[in-house]
């Protein structure tokens, strides 16, 4: 038994992916299946925040705005201009990356609350623009007729899972690489990092760009899954929810972010009868996790399966 647990802890990510791959074979209803797919799509954003916040220490409360850019770019291209969905799927993250890079520039000079407020501001600007540029986005009436990447929901699911898997493996490789180490140095001590040869501006920009690209991918998949977009899906509360997913998973853990995203997405469905107090529960959970985050420390969900000491992040 302990051999199994040991294997699970060492290969936590792989185990999760395998479990997720088996989902379509189980007898979930169409709606439950959709929820899990959405959870997968959300995990891409959660991982993007692992890179930006967990590794680099830059707190963004505007990621709903980036998700919106990705989603609406994909949506407008396929619905209004009849662009091939696959082409749109490539363009959407590129546009989002550009938007995110712009977000990176204030981070050169601004730290802490100054930066966070700037990200909130940018997220709100995006939402207001979407709301008011009705000729482009149909504003509050919503954008309809978005062409999906795959008509078959199972194919779409496996495609999303493949993307998630690729992103997770790439991010874990990033974490142990020189780039990952540079980002973590920036989080702890920018001046020391700079003196040690890290071009802090370049790497901050890189972190924002990578994070935004992932948000753009997540957005395109979101649009493809739902077929319909509405500015109400991209509010400040959503940005806070994405943060919850990442923090729930341990802020620096990639598989943790995936599990966090799946849990947070599925929770309202499991607690259907608690719909009215869903957000109250979310925020209470987050408040408690924050309060005890030192005790949780570098606790990764995979640690449950170990009997050993915690390792470094």
């Amino acid at each position: 038994m302990s051999k199994v647990l040991n294997f699970v802890s060492k290969n936590f990510l792989t185990v999760i992916i395998i479990l997720l791959a088996l989902v379509p074979l189980a007898s979930f209803s169409d709606y439950e299946f959709y929820v899990i797919a959405r959870g997968l799509q959300n995990s891409i954003i959660a991982v993007s925040l692992v890179i930006l916040l967990g590794y680099t220490g830059q707190l963004s409360l505007g990621h709903a705005g980036l998700l919106a850019v990705g989603a609406y770019t994909y949506g407008i291209l396929t619905a209004t201009y009849g662009v091939n969905p696959w082409l749109a799927f490539i363009i959407a993250p590129a546009v989002t990356a550009l938007t995110g890079a712009i977000l990176g520039i204030p981070s050169f000079k601004l730290k802490g609350p100054f930066l966070v407020v700037t990200t909130i501001a940018l997220g709100e600007i995006v939402r207001k623009l979407i709301l008011n540029l009705e000729w482009l986005t149909r504003g509050p009436y919503g954008l309809m007729g978005i062409k999906p990447l795959f008509k078959d929901s199972i194919m779409m699911y496996y495609f999303t899972l493949l993307i998630v898997w690729f992103i997770c493996v790439a991010t874990e490789r990033l974490s142990v690489s020189k780039i990952g180490l540079a980002l973590k140095a920036i989080k702890v001590d920018e001046i020391a990092a700079e003196v040690l040869g890290v071009d802090v501006k370049k790497y901050k920009l890189m972190a924002f760009t990578i994070s935004s690209t992932l948000a753009g991918i997540s957005g395109a998949i979101f649009a493809s899954l739902t077929g319909y977009l509405n500015p109400d899906s991209f509010t400040f509360a959503d940005s806070a929810t994405f943060l919850l997913m990442t923090v729930l998973g341990g802020m620096t853990s990639v598989p943790g972010a995936v599990v966090g995203a799946l849990s947070v997405t599925a929770l309202p469905e499991i607690l259907r009868f608690l719909e009215r107090i869903r957000m109250v529960i979310y925020s209470l959970v987050l408040l408690i996790i924050i309060r005890f985050s030192k005790q949780l420390g570098n606790f990764k969900i995979s640690d449950i399966f170990k009997g050993k000491k915690k390792e470094a992040v």
């Binding site: 790439a170 020189k178 180490l181 003196v195 040690l196």
Partner: protein, 255 residues
Amino acid sequence: MALLETVGLCKRFGGLTAVDNLDMQVCHDQICGLIGPNGSGKTTVLNVITGIYKNDGGKVIFDGKDISNLSPHEICELGIARTFQNIRLLGNQTVYDNVRLGLHIRTKADLLNIIFNSSKVKNENRDIQKTIEEALEIVGLSNVKNEIARNLPYGKQKLLEIARAIVAQPKLLLLDEPAAGLNTKETNELMDIVKNIKDKGISILLIEHQMDFVSGLTDRVYVINYGKKIAEGTFDEIQRDPVVAEAYLGRKGVK
């Protein structure tokens, strides 16, 4: 030609002149000491040299190049490394990874290599491992390679900072009070380590308060007070200089 030269270097903070018209040279294969009472501006000099502060006058020339306007990471790339007076390590990372950060400028793997785990990355990691282990060997930390940095005792953390600084083979190493807080045994071990580093071809500029340490290691010493150079020479020469005694002990204290 000196390896490092400051010419008329000035640094002001508002009304306070921290570094005042400082001329100093560090030559190749030399250990230079920079001493002076507390608050005399020693660390500020290091901060200006490494580009953390912008100088308000004069210039810094390294290996024939004017580096006065370069950013810290550019200066690091040219071959200057340093340790900090109050240790600045990545507390949550391992000893190994802390040293690995020092190799940042020498590693070449880019984002795509990393994502696809190319053979370039794998080969480079092997070389990195060798280099890091050598650096840990020099400072005597090989046996704690995988320990978390903040769990190390103070003296070992200081050695870790040194390992991090030398791993990329800088031309010049700036040490800011490396012996502070060390006991006699640790200080003697540190002296051997610093001599070892010099023998490997790295020139050193050393800030220290412990005079035995300075006398045992340095080829040349600069003494500053209130940001101004008040004496220079070998340790014996400046030790006998009444101006230096006055700076440390006050006028009445000079016999």
